[in-house]
């Protein structure tokens, strides 16, 4: 079974702090994704990566950056946390297939609160 793990289940930070959210997958997947989940807004893509050191902006990249130095690890960085970044953050991974029938595997999420 694919396992996607996230470094923290709950995190509380102060406004202006630099925040690192870590995600690790153990199935050699090429693709990795960061989403945020807010009530009534569903899952919104922040950034994704097709390969090591590759990154692409998603729908809501403002205020975030990412790092992928190793294939299995994808980090989300909040350079200067703000209260409107309080949310549930979900990491996902998937294989690169020659079809669109591509399942994403999600981690359990990190609930971040910015005070």
């Amino acid at each position: 079974d694919v396992k996607v793990t996230q470094s923290s289940r709950y995190l509380v930070k102060r406004t202006g702090e630099k925040v690192f959210l870590e995600c690790v997958q153990d199935m050699d997947h090429e693709n990795m994704f960061w989403y945020r989940q807010d009530p009534g807004l569903g899952l919104r893509l922040i950034y994704f990566s097709y390969d090591v050191k590759m990154k692409e902006k998603g729908d809501i990249p403002e205020g975030y950056s990412v790092s992928r130095e190793k294939k299995e690890r994808f980090s989300l960085i909040l350079e200067s946390a703000s209260t409107n970044q309080t949310s549930m953050y979900l990491c996902a991974s998937s294989l690169v297939l020659d079809t669109p029938y591509n399942e994403q595997f999600f981690g359990p999420g990190t609930r971040l609160t910015v005070l």
């Binding site: 998603g58 029938y101 591509n102 994403q104 359990p108 999420g109």
Partner: protein, 111 residues
């Protein structure tokens, strides 16, 4: 064009009843339509998916109905059980490995 519209936002169904969640899309380049199920405290997980070359797919009590001309698809849960209580996301994707998710439906099955 990239949106997937999902309704209702929340749904309450009696045990044994049929739960129906509807979705609509605009982008005709989408060619894969998965549904994800999320239990509290967990990440979403793939439940069932359909390709646009078929009009229906059934897996156990879960059925996707797909109407290509109307650009609509729906999830039916037959004989709904309390264990089905979860948030359900419809989604769509094309060839860029990205998935566009609907906003989710919170389903509650009354015992």
């Amino acid at each position: 064009q990239q949106q997937v519209k999902q309704s209702p936002q929340s749904l309450i169904v009696q045990k044994g009843g049929i739960s129906i969640i509807n979705c609509a899309y605009e982008n005709t380049a989408f060619d894969y339509f998965p549904w994800y199920q999320q239990f509290p405290g967990k990440g979403p997980a793939l439940l069932i998916a359909i390709r646009p070359d078929v009009s229906e797919k059934k897996e156990g009590r879960f059925t996707i109905s797909f109407n290509k001309s109307a650009k609509q698809f729906s999830l039916h849960i037959m004989d709904s059980q309390p264990g089905d209580s979860a948030t359900y996301f419809c989604a769509a994707s094309g060839r860029d490995d990205k998935i566009i998710f609907g906003k989710g439906t919170r389903l509650h099955i009354l015992p």
